[in-house]
Symmetry: C2
Subunit: 348 residues, 2 copies
Amino acid sequence: MGRTTIHDIAKELNTTAATVSRALNDHPSISAAMKEIVRKTAHQLNYQQNRIASSLRSGKTFVIGVVIPSADISFFGSVIHGIEMVAKTHGYNVILFQTNERYEDEVQGIQTLLQSNVDGIIASITKETSNFDHFLEVKRRGIPLILFDRATDELGVSTVVIDDYKGAFMATEHLLQQGYTRIAHIAGPSHIKIFHERLRGYVDALAAHHIKIDEDLITYGKVSIESGRTCTQQLLQLQKNRPDAIFAVEDFTALGAMEAIKESQWNRPGQIGLVGFANEAFSAYITPSLTTIDQQTALMGQEAAKLLMDQQQAEQHHEKSPQKIVLEPLLIQRQSSMRRQTKQKTAS
Amino acid sequence: MGRTTIHDIAKELNTTAATVSRALNDHPSISAAMKEIVRKTAHQLNYQQNRIASSLRSGKTFVIGVVIPSADISFFGSVIHGIEMVAKTHGYNVILFQTNERYEDEVQGIQTLLQSNVDGIIASITKETSNFDHFLEVKRRGIPLILFDRATDELGVSTVVIDDYKGAFMATEHLLQQGYTRIAHIAGPSHIKIFHERLRGYVDALAAHHIKIDEDLITYGKVSIESGRTCTQQLLQLQKNRPDAIFAVEDFTALGAMEAIKESQWNRPGQIGLVGFANEAFSAYITPSLTTIDQQTALMGQEAAKLLMDQQQAEQHHEKSPQKIVLEPLLIQRQSSMRRQTKQKTAS
DNA sequence: CTGAAAGCGCTTACAG
DNA sequence: CTGAAAGCGCTTACAG
């Protein structure tokens, strides 16, 4: 009864725990013969290292903490998928902590992770967070910290984000290339950075193609299906300069826009172009399927984890200066933006 | 430099680490006055317990391991959401391990979790797994194990599943109540338990309403959009007894069926009823919106975590006999099954 | 190449 | 009510 320890193996072989430990950890000063016999015996006795004991002594836990709003949001589910995949290949485990967008939970999460002596933390901050003391404590302890998506420059840590500006630029340019000329934008609240960036991308894409910005074609929504519908109804009521295409700030807004278009008199395929942003799970399956911008969510997690793994190495040597990784958005072309409705499948 | 330990607090107060430890853990034999001063000092010195050290000594880690195919699948994302929420309120952390449906990864995951001395494991087994030795090892060590969704009776552990039979029964009965009488079923591979249960629910619902089973109306698909489309095309070609409704084994199959229906001559609203299973993210947003069965995924995680928390208590006293929790499926009524197309919104 | 010894930071019987 | 001491299972400078 009771798990096999290195002492059991040592006793079996008439040697010491120190030697067994070194052998199992492939320490260079142990003879090949010794390593061999130790490993064999360990296997025979069904030995499994006690990582807790190892961690306490060595100061390394091989655990990283991930702090996200909710695993129930597909975006974050996909990111932690990427994180865990990379972490695993480097021998690290992942502790998951959800904040549910609450600042207090975030503070508590960081504290628990510090108590657990994690070797690093990857986080996406809550919408509520404006005080960063808990993250500063992480830095003060010398624990590598990576922020993704919801990042801030205030902390001077490495970040992984997607290029919202470029994504919006691509979306708008795609509509132009399809031959649309009066492209409207349903924006989100401008004080939120990602939405502001998407607005900028839209504006600059038009400018780059020498199209004058028409303020009437920019409307500010509340990032919801309902809001997308309402905004679109307004846009379609414009007397002159009615838009012939809409770039919506994200897919749910686009979905509402699509409904409004379908209910309008301009409901023929290709009549009003539409592009969303996010590549939500539903966007491939609605009718018409929605052209959108993919955010490479799993890649985002992988890159964040890779940054963290790099910093694990770097710790020994010298502090690395914070890195800023900006992922390329991907244009996913589907039916909703195609000017000429060619024969296509709904799903793609 | 260096974290505050209980020894630092003890020195500050001219007492011993033992007393500090007891005070912080609210041990009954410590005076209220002592507890008060210890807590104050701990706070002043910014003390945080080292959970690793605590775990090594006490044998309890307050960590549970969760083993799932992938966090990138919305079903599992939702379940781990539920698990983490409950675990947190009980002071437990969650280590996440993904198998990506590979048996070897599952074995390795269980091994890592055992090395980390987790206090319990919640898992959903891979499609590949047919050898359960790694799970038996968990049992042998006396570590509580809970299986959800992909469960097996072979291990004699507690499980949380959804009532697939009942969900299918409800789906079929709903179509009957809408006035459909020739209800077809696109089934999945029958050797997979959940699909077989859904087939049984369909058959029994018809029987309960004295409707004779027509073997021509039961077709076996491959659980994909394409398969749903093909199967539906076949069904609609039946000369006599053409179905007036279809119950699809899951939502992607239903999506393919919906496309086939729309492309057919029976494409008027309410002409052919359709119900899916799973309440996938897209199902509310396609046109028409898809009636389906919700699997209460977050609740599944919560129930699994609650079972595990119960067993943490029980361990001290006596082994609890394994429990089997069967969750109620929820019928989500949307447009695709409505006989009379009343005025409705697309999303609900 | 191997061993003896100390110690990571806690918890907890055993005394008093 | 508090203290002295042992020990959880490892790792790792220090000797030889």
